[in-house]
């Protein structure tokens, strides 16, 4: 079982970026930026360290490789363990968000 409590936001965003299908490195960077509303901009070195870690943890795996304009692109896809970890983390975040909403509604009914 993946330690969902220890999942950091960039890891969550990378796994989310791969949830709807395989993406290559720069594709993940772009998707993470969109998903985070521009708050998280992964540098390439950081991304590849994270990809290596997630691969070693068995959450993702390399998919296919292609050449575009002479540039090598390797795609990555979620493994079933990655999908389970993302699902668990999403549930945990939803539970937290729901709890926070409930409290806010009690305190400030007009804004929550």
């Amino acid at each position: 079982m993946y330690a969902v409590a220890a999942m950091r936001e960039p890891t969550f965003l990378i796994l989310t970026a791969l949830a709807d299908g395989p993406r290559h490195g720069y594709g993940i960077v772009q998707e993470v930026r969109v998903l985070s509303g521009g708050r998280t901009s992964l540098l390439t070195g950081t991304l590849y360290t994270a990809l290596d870690r997630l691969t070693a943890e068995g959450l993702i795996e390399p998919d296919r490789e292609e050449e575009v304009d002479g540039r090598t692109r390797r795609y990555y896809r979620l493994r079933s363990a990655g999908l389970a970890a993302l699902t668990a983390e999403t549930a945990r975040l939803r539970q937290l968000a729901t709890a926070a909403e409930t409290r806010l509604r009690a305190v400030r009914p007009e804004t929550a």
Binding site: G25, Y48, D52
Partner: protein, 362 residues
């Protein structure tokens, strides 16, 4: 992928291990070029620093480990400190020989002209153990508990404290003459000549010796005046030592950096080699842990003690760097640690059971 920007990215990828570059280099450069703004000619400082940082992380292998970086830093720092200490010892070779006995006697006559100092002898070397320079014969003393006897040599003599003389008078005269002859004189240090033997004991009745230290150029001077008490006649001791030579500092910095880099690279190499199904994986880790303990423990014991001693008493010249690392008092620990580290590296060199020891996505 051969433009100037790609070439610059490839240069930065030298921070990554070679096998990683071979397996992933094209992919990384491709992603970097994809992410680069149009017209960009060179990587930004932030991007370059990020690649170097993560390249160094990749050198440690074990991408899922959350502790490997800590272990690598521990190994690199202590190795750098020991390398710096060895380089500092080499730097000490640039020190002038100690003053000869005749020269020391002449300097003592300037400081305390009315006292006749005896027992002045030429020093055999800058550092001695039990009165002799370090040699193979002193190995036993050095390793088996008497390493603390390896210390800076000095040229020293002593004279009886004249009867009915207040030690403070001698100290004041010495301070005055030292200043007159260009010495920088530090505040006096007082030590009780003996401790309380048991109650009743009034600490104010215990006689105190006074020590003053001074520095001039590459020479340091220590004078200790012990008052007469019920058991012993008063004495004046004065001695000269060499101050740390200027070459010690750059050599220690360069040696320390080189040692830390080499240790980091060796640690990374061993870590990558043993990350898969390696026959000696557990033994390599255990031996490394033993080596780090044997190196760090004396240093952690000695560092606060030396720091307190240096703050507590004035020092015209600080103690040599190796003493801050608990050496050579714990030289046996150091040597055993070296043995464990070398054995660990030798075992890491054994072939892995994996066909591909790196997480290369091929």
């Amino acid at each position: 992928m051969t433009g100037p920007l790609a070439r610059r990215y490839r240069r930065l990828l030298f921070a990554y291990p070679r096998a990683y570059r071979r397996a992933r280099g094209d992919e990384l450069v491709g992603a970097l070029l994809d992410a680069a703004a149009p017209g960009l000619r060179r990587p930004s400082a932030r991007e370059a620093a990020n690649l170097v940082r993560h390249g160094l992380r990749a050198r440690l292998g074990r991408p899922a480990s959350r502790t490997v970086v800590t272990w690598a830093v521990l190994a690199a720092v202590i190795s750098g400190l020991f390398a710096a200490a060895f380089a500092a010892r080499a730097g000490w070779q640039t020190a002038r020989p100690l003053p000869r006995a005749a020269e020391a006697r002449a300097m003592l006559a300037e400081i305390l002209p009315e006292q006749e100092f005896a027992d002045l002898e030429d020093a055999p070397a800058l550092f001695i153990i039990y009165g002799s320079p370090l040699s193979l014969r002193s190995t036993r003393d050095l390793l088996l508990g008497d390493g603390g006897e390896y210390a800076q040599a000095g040229v020293a003599g002593s004279a009886p404290l004249p009867p009915m003389t207040d030690p403070a008078v001698i100290v004041d005269q010495a301070r005055q003459n030292l200043r007159a002859h260009g010495w920088t004189v530090y505040r006096p240090i007082f030590h009780e000549v003996y401790g309380c033997a048991g109650p009743p004991c009034d600490p104010t009745t215990i006689p105190r010796s006074t020590t003053i230290v001074a520095g001039r150029g590459d020479t340091t001077f220590t004078l200790e005046v012990t008052p007469t008490d019920s058991y012993n006649p008063g004495r004046i001791s004065g001695g000269f030592q060499r101050a740390t030579p200027a070459a010690v500092y750059p050599l220690a910095v360069a040696g320390g950096l080189a040692g830390a880099v080499v240790a980091f690279l060796l640690f990374g190499w061993a870590s990558r080699r043993t990350q898969g199904r390696h026959p000696a994986r557990a033994v390599v880790k255990t031996l490394l842990g033993i080596a780090l303990f044997l190196w760090w423990a004396p240093a952690l014991l000695a560092l606060p003690t030396m720091a307190w001693h240096t703050i507590d008493e004035p020092h015209p010249s600080w103690h040599p760097m190796w003493e801050w690392l608990g050496q050579p008092v714990f030289s046996l620990f150091f040597l055993l640690g070296c043995g464990a580290a070398l054995l660990s590296l030798a075992l890491a060199a054994l072939p892995s059971r994996d066909r591909e020891p790196l997480p290369a996505h091929t």
